[in-house]
Amino acid sequence: MKETLGTTGLVFNEPLLWEKGKKGRSGFSLPRRDVAEHPVDKKLEGPGPDFPDLSEVDVVRHFIRLSQWNFSVDSGMYPLGSCTMKYNPKTNEVQSARPGLAQAHPLLPQQLSQGALRLMYDLEQYLTEITGMDATSLQPAAGAHGELAGMLLFYAYHKSKGAPRSKIIVPDTAHGTNPASAALCGYRSIPIKSNERGVLSPQAVEDIMDTDTAGIMVTNPNTLGLFEENIKAVSDIVHAKGGLVYGDGANMNAIMGIVNMGELGIDVLHLNLHKTFSSPHGGGGPGSGPVCVRKHLEPFLPVPRVIKQKDRYILSEDFPESFGKIHAFYGNVGVMIRAYSYILSMGPENLIKASQLAVLNAAYIKDQLKGTFHLAYDRPCMHECVFSDKLQKPYKVTTLDMVKRLMDYGFHPPTIYFPLVVPGAIMIEPTETESKEDIDQFIESMKAIAREAKENPERLHAAPGKTKRKRLDETLAARKPCLTG
């Protein structure tokens, strides 16, 4: 395709829900009344909510118009670093919508819910195998929830040893959820700087690891897209002082079948099924953040656990050392179904190939854009690469300006200003599901923007120009919060 992907077309305006509709309309077919009215306690009775009354057509047009203001994976490439915006297979949606699964009440007697229990049991086995760990719990509802589960495991483990600890080591490249999750468990975060190669140095860990430190949280591959090459040495140092190693598996998409996380010395690892295992992000959830553990932490996993007894699957609460529960039921089963469907569709060879192609796509982008943009760490990358706006600084063009302009070219912006260790970071994760043609078009668009930065910086300051809304006043939103209408 010669022309630019991004263009303009007829986009509809649409008011807020309560600015349309008319009292007395309805978009709902109320089931037939087959019982009489019964008096209601007047002291408790209320007026009911003040919602607009809308017809079905009002509702449909409203939300279809809104949907057209969104960028999505199904409309184009979404190279958000550390978010793994891969294609979300449609068969997964069909599987999770099957009435037997979607309409299944969570408190069904266990003999009447064998299919869902088997699916959860098998998915746990698959994730355990893919990560190289010993056991998995699917209960956490999101990545950050998985991190919380991981910290609760740390806490329960150290408590069982009779000595709860107070600190935790968190690298400066970590996602903000890491220190926040640790804080929920009362741990004080001790930051540690990555070295000049962008990874952890064993010496730096040795210097601060002590017997009051519960352990370390490591993202591997890290948020610079680099493999933490000293991970085994780091694990040994932490273990020698009685600590544990937490692995943030947000970037697992780079290493499926290629690295065995258990062998690296990682004691707990969380996965994001909505990243690596293809379930959609839903505009910000629901996700699912299973935790995989080594044998010594298995007794502390949340309950209930799905166990197999002969040919039957049961939910067991009989794990006296468990840290408890973090979900009302068993976690986000709808997301688990999608991940299960994905793993079965892919099989072992394609999962490995997916990681290989994810890394190939990132390496190719890194190579093609090197020189056009400043590359923070010129080393072999994994599934993502991190550039910055250093070369565009002389033209007074920032990362923000460039990625806003990228929207006009028909691409979603990469992750920006993260990780914090790279000023003006542009973090690109293409994923394996983008074809060479689409990647080439992305590269051409990035190069065109770099040219514009030199020749016509004003155009970038004014970007985006083709979107439904131009740059929004975020300061005003925060200074005078208007959170409901």
Partner: protein, 443 residues
């Protein structure tokens, strides 16, 4: 594989560009002792056709309506979801988008969530609602952490009539902290006994659920007036927000925080998740709230638009000082809920709530007439407790054979409530089915 677009030719060209001779070579920089040696032991790939057959077999084993008559509520409710609502919530543009960090290309999600926040605040009678949390249980845990943050006190009280697993989740969240939880007993009418709190001077929050786990409406106004201290927050929890189409909302009854499960608003059971953690509070507490918030603003041309805002509370800015570690919320479930609420409208919401109430009242009447005891006298919404005679466990099992699930036994959660079951009737429960249940029990 249909999700992997690379041809052999593409791979060769790309490898050549990066000067690496094989796909395997891309990983050569990883130390050898970190490499996986064993093959992946997972099943071989299925075709889409084979997958359909396999998934259908799994789904067939599950007991679902209409084949089964399911009288279960207890935190997950069966309601009719309009076809248009499911259709709209399945739009790719919503489903396959990320968190709206780039507002210019995310106005669809942002406006929808702003509308969700608004309708949620109106439903709960509160001033501000967040963009959602994971589920009712974690929403309650976060609410109680917020209560100790706001009040700067160390103890919270929670009613035993709050959903048992919500209380377990709350206990898990509080275990590594310095804060304490005390449990409040329930009275013979099925509501919470708050007499224990009146002399407590270190109480940051009191949590009750209304309708509670027994289906009973709590007297929130009376509880509010018995709080020992002005700083103590009243946290009103719920698992069935449709009740506020009939009964007064938490906000109109004095709640400082209202939180709970929103699954009943257009979201299928899916064996318990994903659900929708709803969370709302008074505006004066907004900077202590967990979770994402969407706010209204203008763009450079002065047009109305929406953005994520007040993010200085959140983990990606504040790191360890954030109000919560929450990052992902349940945006798509919030979208389903706002579409559902919009489809019903204010008038429809009230009618539907009334129908749920009347169905349950009919059910209660039929059971009472058959001679069964309803131990709790408080008004209920769409579920209630029945005390069956000794030996009912056997009948319950027999009914399963007849494809009837006669509610949830309470004894696992409340050892003192032997033979007590919580039963539920919504607008999807036909009168004939309720009559059948009563008849079958009597046989």
């Amino acid at each position: 594989m249909r999700y992997l677009p690379h041809t052999a030719e593409d791979i060769a060209a790309m490898l050549k560009a990066v000067k690496i001779d094989s796909l395997e070579g891309l990983f050569a920089h990883i130390p050898k002792d970190c490499r996986r040696k064993e093959a992946l032991q997972i099943p071989a790939a299925l075709t889409e056709w084979e997958l359909n057959i396999h998934m259908d077999q799994l789904a067939q084993t599950m007991a679902t309506a209409p084949e089964y008559k399911v009288f279960l509520g207890a935190g997950s409710y069966r309601h009719y979801v309009p076809a248009a609502a499911s259709f709209l919530a399945g739009r790719s543009e919503f489903v396959t988008a990320y968190t709206p960090y780039q507002p210019e290309v995310s106005q669809g999600t942002l406006q929808a969530i702003y509308e969700y926040q608004t309708l949620t605040a109106r439903l709960l009678g509160m001033e501000v609602a967040n963009a959602s949390q994971y589920d009712g249980a974690s929403a309650l845990a976060e609410a109680m952490l917020m209560a100790v943050r706001v009040s700067r006190k160390k103890t919270v009280a929670v009613s035993r009539a709050v959903h048992p697993t919500y209380r377990q989740v709350l206990a898990t969240y509080f275990e590594p902290t310095d804060f304490n939880i005390i449990e409040l007993p329930y009275l013979s009418d099925g509501t919470t006994d708050v007499s224990a709190i009146k002399d407590m001077d270190d109480l940051g929050g009191v949590a009750v659920q209304s309708p509670n786990f027994f289906g009973c409406m709590e007297n929130l106004e009376a509880i509010k007036s018995s709080l020992p201290d002005k700083k103590t927050l009243l946290v009103a929890c719920f698992s069935e927000p449709l009740a506020y189409g009939l009964y007064k909302s938490p906000g109109h009854s004095g709640a400082d925080i209202a939180c709970g499960e929103g699954q009943s608003l257009g979201i299928p059971h899916t064996f318990g998740g994903p659900g929708l953690g709803m969370f709302a509070a008074k505006m004066k507490y907004v900077r202590n709230m967990p979770g994402r918030l969407v706010g209204q603003t203008v763009d450079k041309e002065g047009n109305r638009g929406h953005v994520l805002t007040l993010s200085t509370r959140e983990q990606h800015i504040r790191r360890e000082k954030a109000t919560s570690n929450i990052c992902t919320n349940h945006s798509l479930c919030a979208l389903a809920a706002v579409i559902y609420m919009a489809s019903l409208g204010g008038s429809g919401f009230k009618k539907l709530a009334r129908l749920n109430y009347d169905k349950a009242e009919y059910f209660k009447g039929a059971l009472q007439q058959a001679g069964f005891e309803l131990p709790f006298s408080r008004p209920t919404f769409n579920e209630f407790v029945v005390a069956f005679p000794d030996g009912f466990e056997k009948i319950y099992q027999d009914l399963l054979q007849k494809k009837i699930i006669a509610g949830l036994p309470l004894v696992d959660f409340y050892p003192e409530l032997k033979n007590h079951y919580v039963l539920c009737a919504t607008e999807t429960t036909a009168r004939d089915d309720m009559d059948t249940l009563v008849k079958e029990i009597l046989q």
